[in-house]
């Protein structure tokens, strides 16, 4: 309990009732200071002259003023900052999001008329010609240039035969140029952006043809222009890699791909064209209507430039401080972060249950994130999952629940989706959270830290050499990992550095098919998902599940339930918010305040407004910057 000297306590009484000053009395300096502090915290800026004038008028009702401000966007932003400061939900370019099934790179060639021309293609595209399967659609023999896998170009371009040109490529009006790209005859070509992130703004190079004329259509390899949602598994008939004893067909520099065991076993079966596996298996899969399942790029580089975006948006994406050309990977990273911003804003502005931070199955989407969930998220799935009969992802955000009418141009429109699907769990299953915290342990740790206000601190222990793989018992590790490993097990079914969900039907926690063989690791497909260190001769153990197999099956939603049900959750909410508003750490003397705030939170259905209302009326807030000895001795109200 905070101790207050009797002399200053009397003054505090005055301070606490600063709101209700006598009708005709002019505000004191302390009352002005409090009003300014409230404006800074609840309006996000210093008060305007007319607001100060209103405050000075007799009868000004500060309580009503506070209540009104608690409804505003600045209040939501203020609380959002509390949690973004704790979670830091942005990723830089170190998180490399270059998914080859998505990225349309462009090659500069010479068209049949002898003019320079760009042709867009994607590296992972299946084609029915041995000369170009999983490669550029026009062979070096046809173009005069060789494009290596990493985008290096050699040779001299020559005019391409018109019949080949027309057979292998096609003109498209793509989504990044036409707002109505889904119509039969797109005509609403976009104009240059306004520098904000609210208007789709392709980089200048995407708006200009190779001959410097304005781009109205793009030429793209014919396979990429396909629009089917599903395609049949393609079998090329090549069972073994061609020897490098003679030139590859068409002058290609890489060996033509051979058919995988999965393709041989499932030839003709239909696969989703939005999964990476589908794109790698079917030559029917293209980039969809208006190429909406792909991202454009201005070069053959690994992560080519695509759109103009701000680098700095401390005041919001609608008020950027700058704007510059950024890569296609930056585009996704930027909007993932904005999803978290709008998720938090929506939760606080609508005063939803704050436990929704962890367990809300809904989220906010705009055109960019809708496009991501609809068309991009599955591109990272499923790799070796085909060995577990898992060629299509079970999405954390079911694409069928994404609003169909949101196009990539609807960047300023944020709409709530109430239910992403059974695996969704608040922020924990958003791409930005999963990208920011790439490992199971990192994910568990930040939840432990930000939502339980606890930290892993090792005791004074000695680290001794050990081969014990179980960190819950290994000497020197167990102090923290006995808690951390069971928590991280909740993320067993979400791939690390990604968002691919591993359903129990395909990936049982204990899998006899992935048993270790005579003490050796199981096959490569198994080691992608199953941890040989915890496998036995009878069964393999899903990676990360050894801390708690029950937690592994409960998933992130189970972690959310476990955390919000603890008493520490509410007190941590109160602590996070009050420390941010007070600008200091809470101490033992603030226990009374914290208990008051927890009560306000719990008795109001875990809504934040009552908590913040109680906080800004508390002495601790009102006194927050006026307890210096000098101020007290000057006779100010502390």
């Amino acid at each position: 309990m905070r101790w207050i000297h009797a002399m200053s306590a009397a003054a505090l009484v005055v301070g606490a009732s600063a709101v209700a000053r006598p009708a005709e009395a002019a505000p004191t300096r302390e009352q002005y200071r409090l009003f300014r502090a409230l404006s800074i915290d609840l309006q996000g800026r210093i008060p305007l002259p007319d607001e100060i004038a209103a405050f000075e008028r007799p009868g000004f009702d500060l309580d009503a003023w506070i209540d009104q401000r608690l409804q505003g966007p600045a209040y939501a932003e203020r609380l959002r900052r509390v949690y973004l400061d704790a979670l830091r939900l942005e990723v830089g370019s170190m998180f490399n999001f270059v998914s080859n099934p998505l990225v349309l790179r462009r090659a500069r060639l010479v068209d049949p008329d002898g003019n320079p021309a760009y042709v867009y293609y994607r590296r992972s595209q299946r084609r029915d010609r041995v000369e170009s399967d999983l490669d550029f659609c026009l062979s070096p023999d046809e173009t005069g240039v060789t494009i290596t896998g990493n985008g290096q170009v050699s040779g001299t371009a020559r005019p391409i035969d018109r019949a080949v040109w027309e057979a292998r490529t096609v003109e498209v009006r793509p989504w990044w140029l036409y707002r109505d790209y889904r119509s039969a005859s797109p005509s609403q070509r976009i104009t240059a952006g306004d520098g904000s992130a609210m208007v789709l703004s392709p980089v200048a190079a995407l708006l200009t043809n190779a001959d410097t004329t304005p781009t109205t259509t793009v030429r793209v390899c014919r396979e990429e222009a396909q629009t089917a949602a599903r395609g049949a598994v393609y079998l090329s008939g090549r069972l073994t890699a061609l020897p490098r004893t003679e030139p590859y067909p068409g002058g290609r520099v890489t060996a033509p791909p051979v058919d995988s065991a999965y393709a041989r076993a499932h030839v003709g079966e239909m696969v989703s064209c939005t999964s990476g596996t589908g794109v790698s298996l079917s030559d029917d899969c293209g980039c969809g209507v208006g190429l909406e399942r792909c991202m454009p790029g201005t070069s053959l580089g690994n992560d080519p430039a695509a759109f103009n975006l701000p680098d700095n948006v401390p005041l919001g994406a609608d008020q950027p401080l700058d704007s510059r050309s950024q890569t296609q990977g930056d585009w996704s990273r930027f909007w993932w972060a904005q999803e978290a911003v709008h998720f938090l804003d929506d939760l606080f502005a609508r005063d939803r249950d704050v436990r929704g931070l962890l367990n809300d199955r809904g989220t906010m989407v705009n055109g960019a994130t809708a496009q991501f969930y609809r068309s991009f998220a599955g591109s990272t799935c499923c790799g070796n999952g085909t060995q577990f009969n898992y060629p299509e992802p079970t999405a954390l955000f079911d694409p069928a629940r994404v609003p169909a009418d949101l196009t990539p141009h609807d960047l300023a429109t944020w709409r709530r989706v109430d239910d992403r699907g059974p695996q969704a769990a608040g922020l924990l299953t958003t791409p930005i959270f999963l990208a920011k915290y790439g490992t199971r342990r990192a994910r568990a740790h930040i939840v432990y830290n930000a939502f339980l206000c606890r930290q892993f601190v090792a005791e004074n222990i000695a680290l001794t050499p050990s081969t014990e793989p179980n960190l819950m018992v290994r000497s020197g590790c167990a102090a923290c990992h006995a808690t951390l490993e069971p928590l991280s097990a909740y993320f067993t079914r979400v791939s690390e550095s990604g968002w691919t969900f591993l359903p129990a039907a395909s990936f049982p926690v204990l899998n006899p098919a992935c048993a270790t063989r005579g003490g050796n690791s199981p096959n490569g497909g198994c080691t992608s998902f199953y941890d040989p260190a915890f496998g036995t001769a009878a069964q393999g153990m899903l990676r990360g599940a050894y801390g708690s197999t029950e937690h592994a099956d409960e998933g992130p939603a189970g972690l959310a339930r476990a955390v919000v049900d603890t008493p520490e959750f509410a007190s941590c909410v109160a602590q996070n918010v009050s420390e941010s508003f007070l600008g200091r750490s809470l101490t033992a003397e603030d226990q009374g305040l914290q208990e008051t705030l927890v009560t306000a939170l719990r008795t109001n259905g875990f809504r934040m407004r009552p908590l913040v209302r109680a906080l800004v009326r508390a002495d601790a807030y009102r006194n927050a910057n006026n307890l210096a000895s000098g101020a007290w001795r000057e006779g100010s109200t502390p």
């Binding site: 000297h5 300014r36 502090a37 005041l315 401080l321 307890l627």
Partner: protein, 255 residues
Amino acid sequence: MKTTLQRAAAAVLFTLGCNSTPAPGAPAPAPVTPAVDAGAVAPRSTEITPTPVTAIPGHELIPQDRAPKEPPRLMPAETLIRSYISLFGGLSPQALQVRLRGATSDNLFDTWGDYLSALGVPDYGVDIPRAPQTNALMLAAFERIGVALCERAVQNDLRGAVAVTDRVLFRFELPAGARALTDEEFATRFDLLHRRVLGYPAALAPDSRVPRFRALYQGAVARHADAGARSFNGPEAGWASVCEGLVRHPEFHLY
């Protein structure tokens, strides 16, 4: 320079009361001869026990400030930028940047991006946290931005033919013919700026507030008495200085 032993002795004596002078009539403290070990604080003598301060003769009725001492909060960087924007015309950040950079090559302002880190804006992408306290770089950024904002406001409001009601900050008239302001005329105008920037009347500020800003104003006026046409004249320089003093005032950045 005090030795370690002297410091240790002073620390022990400090526990007795406010200073080392014994109260009249009190028994003299026993000589302290701590076991000296390099850098170690001497163990407390068993003869010295904690004493309530009110038990010390002469301290019975002296009030004691034992309230927790808390530093002022630093205005969040986002709020600071928004407040700058609000103070100087409510433009968009990029439009304000264009105005701050100006058409001349005076390099008053670079870009917002150049100042964000110094202002303490967190960069979540690379895990740079919010700066919770001021530092030298931050103060330099306050200075630089404050100068830019105020000089451009003077150029817009006082140099341009802008009606008082349309001005962004200096919403008052200057005396015709560059006549010197009386103390009362200065105080009236200063109060407008004080209210706008610091949020309360200058009359409620510490007594020295108005005289000190008056002196600041007059000093700038005097130094610019013979300024050329391209420089601020006396009153313009004076109000620019007052503005800069207010937007860099600790009461502006702390709350």
